[in-house]
């Protein structure tokens, strides 16, 4: 039997038993579609998170007070609190030649009011460099200027949502708002960011760091954002930061320096592992679909015993009969896989339109391996029924036994 005839004959029987074919295609399709969709979600989440961290800025180091590391020695009996990270520490760091600029951040929350409207929001105290380090854009007005960071000028910048809630569509620049128990003049408003990890930059008010410290009566910084001069300068900046702080804190290593790359790399790893895991779980359904194909093919062989007997009587070799049934299994798994890929991509498009923020995309390796696994399981589980058909005794088969 030549190859095209084997395929035509097999396709004929695939079409001849509609219900059976549809059920098998459904199982195979669900298996492949779930692999495609789940890996797309995993990949989407990975891209979303790493993209978020990358959008924080470039060559970024984050200095946190306290040290998340166990050193030797006796355990602290009394709560040994780390030394505060102060504005002077931050300004000292800026003197390193590996550092381009720094943005100290003090954080607290306070009520912000304009006339009768009041909102409880996050207050960020920082310096002019904050705008550049975080790559923020202004919607109107300006950010506060690069003067002495120790001066507590009564000026503030509003997040887009806060501006809208306090002023509506009206102008905000030049108006005085009350933050906590102090009054600040609005000098600018931030452009709508859409999304950002960690801080909701829509619903904040930014004031000079000294003003924030006075407002909250605390000289401890939440963290310091440090921008290195270049990618290559990051390790040197890190060493400098640790050295400077050690000098200033009487030889204690009591800050933690996180580099943005390390964070991105960690999340990247975590989400890749997650994607692989869901892909693995989804491919179990592919194996199940393969077993279903075997089941269906076994039923097909016993339903078509007389047909097999007839083919043998007409002079079909065992090999030809085996090829016919294997071709059937192959067609079922291939078409099922194709349908699954189509459904998977359609679902991704749908989710993509419903949630445009999540960058969904299936990695090609996932699609390729799903189709490959579908084909292999289909064929593998098709071998047993095909062999059974090929081994049938023609006399018994013709009698329907």
């Amino acid at each position: 039997m030549i190859a095209t005839d084997v395929l035509t004959y097999a396709a004929g029987s695939v079409l001849g038993y509609r219900a059976r074919t549809l059920l098998t295609l459904l199982a195979m399709g669900i298996g492949v579609a779930s692999v495609v969709m789940l890996t797309a979600l995993g990949e989407g989440a990975r891209r979303f998170v790493t993209g978020e961290f990358q959008s924080l800025g470039t060559h970024l180091l984050i200095v946190l007070p306290g040290r998340s590391e166990t050193t030797g020695g006796p355990p602290p009996l009394l709560g040994e609190t780390p030394r505060d990270l102060t504005l002077d520490d931050a300004l000292a760091i800026e003197r390193s030649r590996a550092v381009r600029r720094i943005a100290p951040i003090a954080v607290g929350s306070a009520g912000v009011s304009y006339r009768e409207r009041e909102r409880e929001v996050m207050v960020i105290g920082s310096t002019a460099a904050f705008l550049d380090v975080r790559r923020l854009k202004m919607a109107s007005g300006r950010f506060f200027s690069t003067s002495d960071p120790r001066r507590a000028s009564p000026v503030c910048v509003l997040g887009a949502k806060l501006k809208h809630e306090l002023f509506g569509a009206g102008p905000a620049i030049g108006r005085w708002v009350r933050v906590g128990d102090r009054r600040f003049r609005v000098v600018g408003t931030l452009a709508s960011e859409g999304r950002s990890i960690g801080l909701d930059l829509e619903d904040i008010v930014i004031v000079p760091v000294a003003a924030a410290q006075a407002l909250f009566d605390s000289y401890s910084l939440f963290r310091v954002l440090v921008e290195a001069r270049s990618d290559e300068a990051i390790p040197r900046a890190r060493r400098d930061i640790l050295r400077i702080i050690r000098q200033r804190h009487e030889g204690e290593d009591d800050v933690t320096v996180i580099t943005q790359d390390a964070v991105v790399a960690t999340f990247d790893k975590i989400f890749r592992a997650l994607t692989l895991t869901v892909a693995g779980i989804a491919s179990i359904s592919l194996a199940v679909a393969g077993i279903l194909i075997m089941n269906v093919m076994l039923v097909a062989v016993s339903q078509r015993t007389t047909e097999v007997g007839l083919l043998k009587a007409l002079g079909a070799s065992s090999g030809a009969i085996m090829r016919v049934f294997l071709a059937e299994a192959a067609i079922l798994s291939l078409v099922g896989a194709a349908a699954g890929v189509a459904v998977g991509y359609a679902a991704i498009r749908f989710v993509d339109q419903a949630y445009p923020l999540l960058p969904l995309s299936t990695p090609l390796w996932a699609v390729a391996s799903a189709v490959l696994v579908a084909m292999t399981t289909g064929l593998l589980f098709g071998v047993l029924p095909a062999r059974r058909a090929a081994k049938l005794d023609p006399v018994a088969a013709l009698a329907g036994r």
């Binding site: 039997m1 029987s13 001849g16 007839l310 009587a313 002079g315 079909a316 013709l398």
Partner: protein, 228 residues
């Protein structure tokens, strides 16, 4: 062309050995018309299946056109069936999802005949059996007689030397049965060796030679002189 010597086919049923063919010697020459008769269970279908290479002898020798077919492998047996033997069955055994033309085409597909030539030979054969207007009907749209005619067309499309018919009229009414028998006899007149297994004494007497079997043995053979 067919020569059986001490042919035995044994089946084991439980712990009993059933001799479906018990030491049979048989010679059939090319172009003969032979009817095999006998009560059911007498081994006539087993004899036909053994001659048609669907079944292997337990003991004894079988020469088909001078070849010792008991030594052939399964694939060689399949090829010999393709090239030399045509089967006609009591229950037609047409593939239900295929049209008449496609059913007739099957043996040609199995013999690797090119598609163009296949179509030509199929339409030729269908025309010869008066089935050209039924070519695209499926078996369930055909009458019993038409189905058996399609089956005969299928058996002859590869131009075999032997036609083996197992109760070819067993499932047909008288008129279409006669029609089928005449068709088979016409093939025989054109030189094909024809073996018919039947219950029907009337049908059997139409054959030039009658072999009667009982309990796996040939008890009478009207034409044995001719074959020796």
């Amino acid at each position: 062309m067919i020569q059986l010597r001490h042919a035995q086919r044994l089946f084991t049923v439980g712990d009993q050995v059933v001799r479906a063919l018990d030491d049979i010697d048989l010679d059939i020459a090319t172009g003969e018309y032979v009817a095999i008769i006998g009560p059911s269970g007498s081994g006539k279908s087993t004899l036909l299946n053994a001659i048609g290479l669907l079944d292997r002898l337990t003991h004894g020798s079988y020469l088909l056109e001078g070849t010792d077919v008991t030594r052939l492998s399964d694939n060689e047996l399949a090829r010999t069936r393709r090239e030399m033997i045509g089967f006609v069955f009591q229950f037609f055994h047409l593939v239900p999802r295929l049209t008449a033309a496609q059913n007739v085409e099957l043996p040609l597909i199995l013999s690797d005949v090119a598609p163009g030539e296949r179509r030509e030979r199929v339409s030729e054969v269908l025309k010869a059996y008066g089935l050209d207007d039924r070519a695209h009907h499926r078996p369930n749209q055909l009458s019993g007689g038409q189905r058996q005619r399609v089956a005969i067309a299928r058996a002859t499309v590869t131009s075999p030397q032997v036609i083996l018919a197992d109760e070819p009229t067993g499932n047909l009414d008288r008129a279409s049965g006669l029609d089928v028998v005449e068709m088979l006899e016409k093939l025989n007149r054109n030189g094909i060796t024809l073996l018919v297994v039947t219950h029907d004494p009337e049908l059997a007497t139409r054959a030039a030679r009658q072999i009667r079997m009982v309990d796996g043995k040939i008890v009478s053979d009207t034409g044995s002189g001719k074959s020796q």
